[in-house]
Symmetry: C2
């Protein structure tokens, strides 16, 4: 496989973006996990009925997406919203926007939103309630948006892989053979490298300076497992779904 | 000086909060500085007249504060807005909210907002324009809010110092003697400790894993200098102004 280093779809450029997003994700996990699970933040009307049957997180994520939609965040090919009732941008489209992807409707943020609240928060945050609901939701929004970007970057990865070997992918796409596509886009060595690197980064960035030497703010193995269990599989799911729409 | 370890105003608790905020600030500086200065983000109508004589950052910070005000962010004694035309919360006040501060109107966010754009961004970000305006403004909002929290935490510091030695402060407050108050709240040893610790943390958290060993994402000395030039002085300014209103 050869890379053309000067295009948005070069695997080198894509990998550099994904590598830099690891820092953003790790910092964001460390920030969220300083607060307890605070599950009331995820309950409809958990903070009273002023939010009209929304959770605090629903409200804050929705408001954030509404304002960002107005300044055209979701016209960018690497940004995908969690809500589908957002306003049109009031800034005009940028004339120079690159659209390197095949037209597609892949967006797995509804799954991500549910998995985040049900599985990821209990996995990375200490149990209980520390009353820091606003900070919790603010950090949730940042972490969710970063996870979504990382996961949907699978579209760029898939498009790049496709362009390098269209003759390998075309019959699998024609047959809508998801299992074979999953096999074709899987590179076990790359995944192992990602996991090793994420673990090493987390061991550095999560280092605790107060308290017992060797303490961590969040267990680096948990950051590793977050990638193993959810981020990498969901990224690959996006790749397969994207390719299935590449007809 | 003795600390009562179980109150919101114990100097120990306050210092632990400030120490933990160092991580949040350092992560946030690293995140912002991955993008160029992108000064167009701070220009009125820099992105066209759709924003009605606001900069992109004006718009995004204002919208963020509007939605956070609705869920009572700014009723918390450690949160201060940059805009003064925010809506009333539609969540009721929490019955258990602690109000450990003397009533006051100290808010130096207008200064912070200006200094941030004029001085801090050019100080921490590479010059030029990389077209990442949305990410730039999103990171600006997060960093500004953290800086504001850290700086206005001076109110808690000042109240705690006052309660330990009211007889030392009362005559200075009565005379509105800002220079003497500044001297009374200054602890050179504590400041030197903060600066040493921030440098050490930045040397760890800003470590670069790609490229040349020993590289940093942002120069740790610059994070140190950010504290030295702006964060510590503005925190102390808040302390003095708070005490001047403590009559």
């Amino acid at each position: 496989m050869t890379d053309s280093p000067h295009t948005a779809l070069s695997l080198n450029n894509i990998r550099n973006t994904l590598i830099r997003l690891e820092e953003t994700i790790i910092f964001s996990v460390i920030e969220r996990s300083q607060f307890c699970q605070n599950l009331i933040v995820y309950q409809k009307d958990g903070l009273g009925d002023g939010l009209h049957n929304q959770s605090l997180l629903d409200f804050m994520l929705h408001e954030c997406e509404r304002s960002h939609a107005l300044v055209r965040r979701y016209t960018s090919p690497d940004e995908y919203p969690f809500f589908d009732d957002l306003p049109e941008p009031f800034l005009p489209d940028r004339p120079d926007t690159e659209h390197p992807l095949h037209p597609n409707t892949v967006n797995i943020n509804k799954d991500l939103y549910q998995i985040y609240q049900q599985d990821m928060v209990p996995f990375i945050c200490p149990p209980g309630d520390d009353d820091q609901y606003g900070s919790t939701a603010v950090n949730d929004v940042a972490l969710l948006q970063t996870l979504s970007k990382r996961i949907h970057y699978g579209k760029f990865v898939a498009e790049s892989k496709y362009q390098q070997q269209p003759e390998q992918f075309d019959p699998l796409i024609a047959a809508q053979d998801r299992a074979a596509l999953m096999k074709a886009i899987t590179n076990a060595e790359v995944e192992a490298n990602v996991l090793r690197r994420v673990l090493r980064k987390a061991q550095t960035y999560a280092r605790e300076f107060q308290g017992t030497p060797g303490d961590f703010k969040v267990d680096p193995q948990q950051v590793h497992d977050l990638y193993l269990r959810w981020i990498i599989p969901m990224n690959k799911e996006v790749q397969v779904e994207y390719l299935c729409q590449r007809v």
